[in-house]
Amino acid sequence: MSDSHRKKSGISRRTFIKGLGLSSLGAATLSGEGLKGTLRGTGLLPEERIVPADGTEATFLVNGRKRKVRIEPRTTLAEVLRHRFGLTGTKLGCGRGACGACTVLLDGKAVSSCMTLAIDAAGVPVETIEGLQAKDGTLHPLQEAFIEHDAMQCGFCTSGMIMSGKALLDINPAPDEQEIRESVSGNLCRCGTYPHVFEAIQAAGSKSGIRKTK
């Protein structure tokens, strides 16, 4: 990226948009997170959320581990995870936040990492499928339940499904039927394993033994 348009005081909106590139503009218009994108050029966001057009060093907190990489303004979280950290368990299915294959947890909330700008994830705890298994090899109850209930066929949607399920169970360990359906309603599975995914999340929820307090 050329920085000839860069102003002394920071970044012009034009440079920002140019640096952001087409794909992120899509992100800015399509996702809720996009609002932040449009605010960024106006200086309404904290300085550390602004990436110069020629890139910046950013620190990520992925699965409890700190990692520093250089990113461009347009870089998505999915790209950082897959291409920079080699965490390929996060899949790219549609590239526009509509299939759920790239779901990760950002500060505990399920997000489409293909629609999340990397800079928005910098410094915020990110959890991916690779972080679920304990160091001693123990599987997370959701992982166990997905195996037990045969909740996968081709497996491409599995990591996203599990992460969506985890976002739900972390705040609501004993969800009802509708809550489970809603939690994975943004995750597409072309093999049609939905009945098993549903059962697996339900089983993992009840396994935790905690009753919902509402």
Partner: protein, 781 residues
């Protein structure tokens, strides 16, 4: 009874839940990797007047920009008919057709190179659908005919005759993993291809052809696919060949992974069909004659369209004995991406036609459609010869029907639905039972062969190579089970290798639901060979230990990780010890295996023979509730009873049945491909193309496998499963029609097509309501 001894979980389950399962796009490659991009036609039909790649080629970081002129071998990808250029030459014939290839250090550089390419087109006349093709007489090949009896005579003698037409829509495969290929050049001319393909041998052949090198220089490996459903049977070849051309040109590893929108724009779909029919039947519901014409939209090239048409024709009568039948099939050529294989392979379109006919006949005769279906089922002892002369053996139709009608409480619910519909003006409920009888085997008979390579290592572990590919259907899990069962060892000791053309050559596509039948037998054959070599070693080993000669090889049994003498069961040796001993005795512990389906054969020109090894059967009862003002509908309950013989793995098989039904549900309801008048696909992302989500599945979903019906014709008495359940979703489609029909008290045939989108439903409901209003007006006078 299910095959005992192991209810084995998905062989990659652990990898999937931890994110460690590798797909093509996940394979680690070093810094040398270049990104590949395909530049495709924005015109449905145009002449290419000129192009200039010089500016694009000069961009630093862009390593190759290729046109057809840079193809060292043959510019051809057609799998059956050579009518599909790898890169367009002087003419483009559909939007999405590849013209140029770019390899660059980043995606961004690929886009800059694409923008720098200069090309001039001269748009030409287009043909975009079956109707336009019919007007223009644009056929992809000769018409096909098949049939039996005397249809004209039967039509004139029948008590009633009905005729009409039905349109079925295209369906996008929407495999979660888009087309992807990684090519790594080896030494000299070698090319290593990692491809998301259902047909590694064909991918290998075509890569060799476009590169102009022999096949022994090309190795194709497939670890797994993130779904395929037929969409990667032929059309994965394209991405692999494009990638190979770029890797060859640059001498560096290159990867192409299609973006979702590009994938949807560039690749073929399930063929849309226009089905015209005329049927003769009697007041008892017996169909005595059927004349049916199947017209398919093949797209711009042949691909597998004729094999798909053939299967549609072979399933145009579905589960019914129709003594006088004539079936005509045509594939029309249009300016769309070549339509291709998709789960069911023409079967769904063929069956949609006859199921709609039966539904219409039942409404006309004021009978329950399930009764009319039962009346027309193939018989056990008589009325069991198909229009193509194959006898329907081991017919499970009556058995499944009786069990399902009872378990689904069909009659009771039918009465409840009638009560509901009388009480509700704007919500209507409907129910339908539909059967599936699906022929198993490739109808191109020579394809029914498979190979395997089984290696036993000295630590007693086994590596199975076979020609099939894993796309989520559980093939590798079943192969692992079969090898373990045949060797009598625990499944943990068996690993299934990535499919690799250098291990098992000349394989057929993993398709036609035949993966397990064919490869399972080949694996079994290889294991048998090794066991036959181990038997004398075991007998000798046991005799030496006991210092006698009483153990003989005929009595050697493999079980529970041990090998023993059945006559003296205390004389035993562990499997591991035995193979170590065999190695020391210089006995080979590796063998190939082979299988060809026996007793099948089919004369395509006469339309006669025994194309199928056997039939798979299933039946479903679906109940829906439709809001007739919005077209919104939900599935209240679905009951399925499906025949998989003795299930090799009930968990996998039930998953296939449910998944097939859900995918079929998309085809019959929400999935609609729309093109504009220029041939541009309008819905090429999940925002606008709607496959079923978790919210669309039946609230009450009861899937059972038929028990006590072993299949004598396949591995361990099992049956193929992948495709047949797809067509069970026709019950959901006809349940919606039944609900609509209730608007006019089943007096009027609802105008209907497939998919039954909300739009189709609302329009049909409006017409029916209008008809009632008109009738009331007339009655009022």
């Amino acid at each position: 009874m299910a095959n005992k001894s192991n209810i084995e979980v998905h062989e990659s389950a652990m990898l999937h839940v931890t994110g460690r399962a590798l797909y093509v796009d996940d394979i680690p490659v070093g810094e040398q990797l270049l990104v590949g991009k395909v530049v495709y036609s924005p015109h449905a039909h145009a002449q290419i007047n000129s192009f200039d790649l010089q500016t694009a080629r000069r961009i630093p970081g862009v390593h190759a920009v290729l046109s057809f002129r840079d193809i060292p071998g043959e510019n051809q990808l057609g799998p059956v008919v050579k009518d599909e250029p790898c890169l367009a030459e002087n003419e483009v014939t559909f939007i999405g057709q590849a013209i140029f290839l770019i390899a660059a250090e980043t995606e961004e550089l690929c886009r800059r190179a694409e923008a720098a390419i200069k090309i001039e087109y001269e748009p030409l006349e287009t043909i975009l659908n079956i109707d336009e093709a019919m007007t223009a007489g644009s056929l992809l090949g000769p018409e096909r005919r098949m049939g039996s009896g005397d249809v004209q005579a039967a039509l004139s003698e029948a008590e009633y005759v009905l005729e009409g037409e039905l349109r079925t829509g295209a369906q996008e495969h929407w495999y979660l993993e888009t087309h992807a290929s990684l090519c790594i050049p080896g030494e000299e001319r070698e090319m290593n291809v990692y491809s998301s393909t259902q047909h590694p041998s064909e991918t290998q052949a075509l890569v060799a052809e476009v590169l102009g090198i022999p096949r022994n220089e090309v190795k194709v490996e497939v670890r797994r696919m993130g779904g395929a459903f037929g969409g990667k049977e032929t059309q994965a070849n394209h991405t692999a060949c494009w990638t190979a051309l770029l890797a060859h040109a640059t001498g560096r590893p290159v990867k192409i992974r299609l973006f979702r929108d590009d994938d949807q724009i560039m690749t073929g779909k399930r063929h849309p069909y226009l089905i015209k029919y005329k049927t003769g039947f009697n007041s008892d519901g017996k169909i005595v004659a059927l004349e049916v014409e199947l017209n398919s939209n093949g797209g711009a090239a042949t691909d597998l369209s004729f094999a798909i048409l053939e299967r549609a024709m072979l399933h145009a009568e579905n589960a019914y004995y129709i003594p006088n039948i004539s079936i005509t099939g045509r594939v029309w050529k249009t300016n769309l991406p070549s339509n291709t294989a998709f789960r069911g392979f023409g079967g769904p379109q063929g069956m949609a036609g006859i199921e709609n006919v039966i539904d219409r006949v039942a409404r006309f005769l004021k009978k329950d459609a399930a009764d009319v279906r039962f009346t027309n089922f193939y018989g056990q002892e008589k009325n069991n010869i198909t229009p193509y002369g194959q006898q329907v053996e081991d017919n499970r139709l009556q058995m499944i029907y009786d069990q399902l009608v009872a378990s689904s409480e069909y009659e009771k619910r039918r009465e409840e639905i009638e009560v509901f519909n009388v009480a509700h003006e704007f919500e209507k409920r409907g129910m339908a039972l539909t059967p599936v009888k699906f022929g198993i085997s490739f109808t191109t008979s020579f394809l029914n062969q498979a190979g395997a390579l089984v290696n036993v290592y000295q630590d007693g572990t086994v590596l199975v190579n076979h020609g099939g590919t894993e796309m989520g259907q559980g093939l590798h899990t079943k192969m692992k089970q079969i090898a373990a069962l045949e060797f009598g060892i625990s499944p943990e000791r068996v690993k299934v290798n990535a499919t690799d053309t250098s291990k098992v050559p000349n394989t057929s596509a993993t398709a036609a639901s035949a993966g397990t039948d064919l490869n399972g037998m080949a694996v079994k054959n290889a294991v048998e060979t090794i066991k036959n070599r181990l038997r004398p070693v075991a007998a000798d080993y046991l005799n030496k230990q006991a210092c006698d000669t009483t153990s003989s090889e005929e009595d050697i049994v493999f079980e529970n990780n041990e090998v023993f003498d059945a006559a003296k069961p205390d004389r035993r040796v562990t499997f591991r010890e035995l193979v170590q001993n065999a190695y020391l005795r210089q006995v080979s512990l590796s063998s190939t295996g082979f299988y060809r389906t026996p007793d099948i054969g089919w004369d395509r020109d006469k339309g006669h023979g025994r194309p199928f090894n056997y039939f798979a059967f299933g039946m479903a009862v679906s109940e829906v509730e439709v809001d007739i003002l919005t077209g919104h509908h939900r599935l209240l309950r679905v009951d399925i009873l499906h025949d998989v013989g003795d299930s090799l793995n009930p968990a996998i098989d039930i998953g296939q049945v449910e998944g097939g039904y859900i995918q079929g549900l998309g085809w019959v309801t929400t999935e609609e491909c729309k093109w504009d008048s220029h041939g541009r696909l309008l819905n090429h992302s999940p925002d606008t193309y709607k496959i079923p989500s978790v919210q669309d599945i039946p609230r009450d979903f009861r899937v059972q496998l038929l028990q006590g019906a072993p299949n004598p014709r396949a591995i361990r008495k099992s049956k193929a499963v992948a495709e047949p359940p797809f067509m069970l979703a026709l019950s959901a489609w006809l349940a919606i029609k039944d609900a609509l029909s209730a608007i006019a008290d089943h007096e009027i045939e609802p105008p209907f097509s497939l998919p039954a989108t909300n739009e189709v439903i609302v329009l049909a409901a409006e017409k029916l309501r209008q008809a009632i209003r008109n009738k009331q007006l007339v009655g009022g006078k």
